[in-house]
């Protein structure tokens, strides 16, 4: 009997009694645990989901309008165009969680680390900064080598680390043979930040626990009519390897939110559950088909356009995404309203399969292509496949491949690749879709340039500066991002100008023009962007903030309030 009592006690502990004890614990399901808590090293979403709670930037974006608002800083940046300098004032009375005041010295220190070590993740937002000076404890001056638009959207939003914690680590790293590696390898076991939550505990392989930062500087501030919290005492991250198990856990109330997009297949079932909410938000992403412009026939704009017409994006969205997504006729997603140019050419929009084939044949013929057997669309709509597509110079188009990610990475894109293969073959384009491991694709595409076409995707930032990264000819280097070899001096000039333009309206004009170039010349064929579907418990917390990419954003966690029992 003596043995049974603790056994029973343990059982009850597990099966329910614990629940009321953690009434305001927000339990979040993640697919993987953080890789590291080192903010210089972390590059994966799971690490940032945790680290993001500890550190803040000088400025941040408004949850609804995305306009930039001061956060650790006080008031707008004062930029002097003549000298390319910018003065920024800091809020006073902000403290790190260990009680040390946050001052301009922390900002100067952080900037110096980014610049001295050329920390990979941050350097592209900082390498145009000459230096940062502290005018006094609460005022800073940034010296820019050249004006850059991402100064406001990137540099000023970078996180700031506490000098008193990191200085000894950084100094020690500088003494070693490879300082950067030492810094990146430094294992953070007890992060000290100033964010809304503090680190409490990490049991590897099982969970991460955060507790509320009682001295959070932004608590009580009003943003968009709401008072900033946090109103939750604890956050518990739990690891679920698959979406299926996470959904079951959500239904059983073991977690309150799944912090990754779920597949459309889950929706119908969840929508019938009164305790579970499902949200749809556009994703700031892009799936695309890219060509190797160094090879024929992809170097020919007519060929690329014909391909663009043949791909039925609406079919892909309707079938593969099950309508949870949108066709893309641009490299900037429509959800990014301010920078999105809606007037780019829309290849094949609204066309039937027959019309697509006719149009593609027409373009190819006008471009000097011929066939051994020309594809035909019969009166009754049947399509007679073409054969032996021949280039203007009289040589046959050689069979080529579309590299698509394998099933473990994204099974849907592998299917998309197969469908595209079928559509292209109808006009006699000899293509095979080749599912290839992700690492192999990146290696072939970015490092070796040994590919014909490939199908990949990007997660994008709000600032459209990425267009410069993807299509500027200076990125045609080993491991560069212009893997297609797209080179257009006019586009380069435009891209350089847009990067240095600080006037938003003027910059928007150049960005719009850049989008037109890309779509017209088609080194990329944008395919679709998906909708981020997310699921959460309606009966436990309220106040989720819907944003581009979903409800798992900093604002949600600042505004979320527990629902008291019987108060639903």
């Amino acid at each position: 009997m003596k043995k049974i009592i603790p056994l029973l006690a343990a059982f009850f502990l597990i099966s329910g009694i614990i629940d009321p004890l953690f009434a305001s614990t927000l339990k979040i399901g993640m697919q993987d645990e953080p890789k590291t808590l080192n903010p210089f090293k972390a590059s994966d979403v799971w690490s940032w989901n945790v680290i993001g709670f500890f550190y803040e930037g000088l400025y941040t974006r408004n949850p609804v309008t995305f306009e930039i608002i001061p956060w650790l800083a006080e008031g707008d940046p004062e930029f002097d165009k003549k000298t390319n300098t910018c003065v920024i004032r800091l809020k006073k009375e902000i403290r790190w969680e260990d009680g040390v005041p946050f001052t301009a010295q922390d900002v100067v220190f952080t900037a110096q680390v980014f610049l001295d070590f050329k920390v990979p993740r941050y350097i592209s937002d900082w390498d145009f900064i000459e230096k940062v000076e502290a005018l006094d404890d609460y005022a800073l001056k940034f010296y820019l080598k050249e004006p850059y638009a991402i100064f406001f959207t990137g540099t000023l939003m970078s996180l700031i680390v506490p000098k008193h914690i990191w200085e000894p680590i950084v100094e020690e790293a500088k003494e070693t043979k490879s300082p950067l590696t030492t810094l990146l390898e430094y294992e953070v076991t007890k992060p000290i930040g100033l964010g809304s939550f503090r680190f409490s505990r990490w049991h590897r392989g099982a969970y991460v626990k955060l507790v509320k930062n009682p001295g959070y500087f932004a608590s009580g501030r009003k943003v968009k009519g709401k008072i900033v919290g946090p109103y939750i005492d604890e956050i518990l991250f739990k690891i679920y390897g698959t979406t299926d198990t996470a959904i079951l856990a959500l239904k059983r109330g073991e977690i309150d939110y799944i912090w990754w997009p779920i597949q459309p297949g889950f929706v119908k079932d969840l929508e019938g559950n009164p305790k579970i909410g499902v949200t749809n938000n556009p994703e700031n992403g892009l799936k695309y088909l890219a060509f190797n412009l160094r090879r024929t026939p992809f170097s020919d704009i007519n060929f690329r356009r014909a391909v663009a017409y043949l791909i039925d994006k609406d079919f892909l969205v309707r079938r593969i995404l099950q309508n949870y997504g949108e066709r893309m006729d641009n490299v900037v997603p429509p959800g990014n309203g301010f920078w999105f140019n809606s007037n780019t050419p829309k290849y094949g929009k609204g066309m039937s399969r027959q019309e697509r084939v006719k149009k593609a044949v027409e373009i190819l013929e006008r471009g000097g292509y011929s066939w051994k057997r020309r594809p035909k669309v019969l009166e009754n709509g049947r399509i007679v496949k073409g054969e032996g597509l021949t280039m203007p110079d009289g040589t046959l188009v050689k069979p080529f491949t579309i590299l698509t990610p394998p099933a473990d990475y994204d099974p849907l894109r592998a299917i998309a690749g197969l469908l595209i293969q079928e559509w292209l073959r109808e006009v006699g384009i000899p293509v095979t879709s080749a599912p290839t491991s992700f690492g192999d694709i990146v290696n072939k595409v970015n490092t070796e340039w040994d590919f014909d076409t490939y199908l990949l995707g990007w997660r994008l930032s709000l600032d459209p500066d990425y267009m410069r990264t993807f299509f500027h000819s200076k990125e045609i280097v080993r491991d560069g991002y212009n893997s297609m070899g797209y080179s257009n001096p006019a586009f380069d000039r435009l891209a350089d100008r847009s990067a240095k333009e600080l006037d938003e309206e003027k910059r928007r004009k150049s960005i719009f023009e850049m989008q037109e170039y890309i779509i017209k010349e088609a080194p990329y064929i944008p395919l679709y962007t998906s909708t981020s579907i997310e699921a959460y418990r309606k009966d436990r917390f309220t106040g989720w903030v819907n944003q581009l990419d979903g409800i798992g954003n900093g604002w949600s966690f600042l505004f979320l309030k527990p629902i008291k029992e019987g108060q639903e």
Binding site: T242, T243, D244, I247, L248, I262, Q263, P264, G265, F266, K268, D269, R318, R319, I320, Q322, N323, T404, P406, A407, D408, Y409, P411, L412, A414, I415, G417, L418, L419, E422, S433, A434, P435, T436, S437, G439, D440
Partner: protein
């Protein structure tokens, strides 16, 4: 021929073996059905055909006896196509590994000495290694998700158990008088192996092939399920992977049950047949 008939009669008495055979016959019918379906309607093409009216996964209906998958493709057509892939993968991978295994076993057993030691060491190493993790690692390192490459890997990994048995059999055959006689009459090694030893060990190889098919089908399905398979081929493992990754596992029993059950049943059937053959070839196991 008489021996075959005698053996077949023995097989017929083996209830488990006959069960296996009937299961296999059922799936062979499914294989035949495969190419017929797309001729009835384009929407029955297993990979690219979709029902124009159906945009998501639906339970069984008259047009789709087993329902449709997430994008409106017919599950029965996929299952039928998957049956062909399963037989193809299973038989060709097993054939490859049995060929290698028989060759290694023959050579090791016949020539003995250093050849034997080296080959058997290699066999033992491969035999003790967990094969699925090994296949996973090799498939991942090759990076190309092609069905034939996967078949090749499975074939290359699966031979050691055959090699061991064949070697033992060869060793015992080598001592038989008729081999001695052939040697004395001046037959070359090649001739002795191909004319005298090989015919006597072929039944054993065949037996190991049935077991090999089981292993190969399971391995391919496992790879596909983990996402390391060939996504351009509609195999049963890939059907499950689609079901799993599109979030239908616990919501669409009509989708998740058929491929999994088919994999399990086909491998079960091959195993049963293998066991029945085993009892015929190894009479010690037979009932007195």
């Amino acid at each position: 021929m008489g021996r075959f008939k005698e053996n077949f009669n023995l097989f017929r008495k083996n209830r488990l073996g006959m069960t296996g055979l009937f299961i296999l016959l059922f799936f062979l019918l499914l294989v035949i059905l495969g190419p017929i379906l797309p001729r009835i309607d384009e929407m029955y093409r297993p990979m690219t055909g979709v029902d124009k009216e159906i945009l998501w996964s639906t339970p069984p209906s008259r047009a789709h006896l087993l329902g449709t998958d997430f994008m409106g493709r017919d599950i029965l057509s996929q299952l039928a196509h998957g049956a062909r892939i399963a037989f193809m993968v299973g038989i060709s991978a097993a054939l490859a590994s049995v060929l290698i295994g028989t060759l290694v076993g023959l050579v090791a057993g016949y020539f003995g000495r250093l050849t034997d030691t080296l080959l058997m060491r290699l066999t033992d190493i491969l035999l003790t290694l967990p094969s699925l993790p090994l296949i996973i690692i090799i498939a991942a390192a090759l990076g190309k998700q092609s069905l034939w490459i996967i078949v090749g890997i499975i074939g290359l990994i699966g031979w050691p158990s055959t090699a061991r048995v064949i070697r033992a059999q060869t060793l015992s055959l080598k001592e038989r008088p008729f081999i001695e006689a052939a040697r004395v009459s001046g037959a070359s090694n090649f001739r002795i192996i191909t004319r005298h030893i090989a015919p006597n060990i072929l039944p054993l190889s065949f037996l190991y092939m049935t077991f090999g098919v089981t292993g190969a089908i399971l391995a391919e399905a496992g790879l596909s399920f983990l996402g390391l398979g060939d996504p351009s081929v509609v195999s049963w493992g890939m059907m499950l992977q689609w079901c799993f990754t599109t979030g239908h596992t616990f919501r669409a029993p009509y989708w998740v049950l058929p491929p999994g059950l088919s994999i399990s049943l086909v491998t079960f059937a091959f195993y049963l047949i293998g066991r029945a053959l085993d009892e015929i070839i190894n009479p010690r196991l037979r009932e007195r």
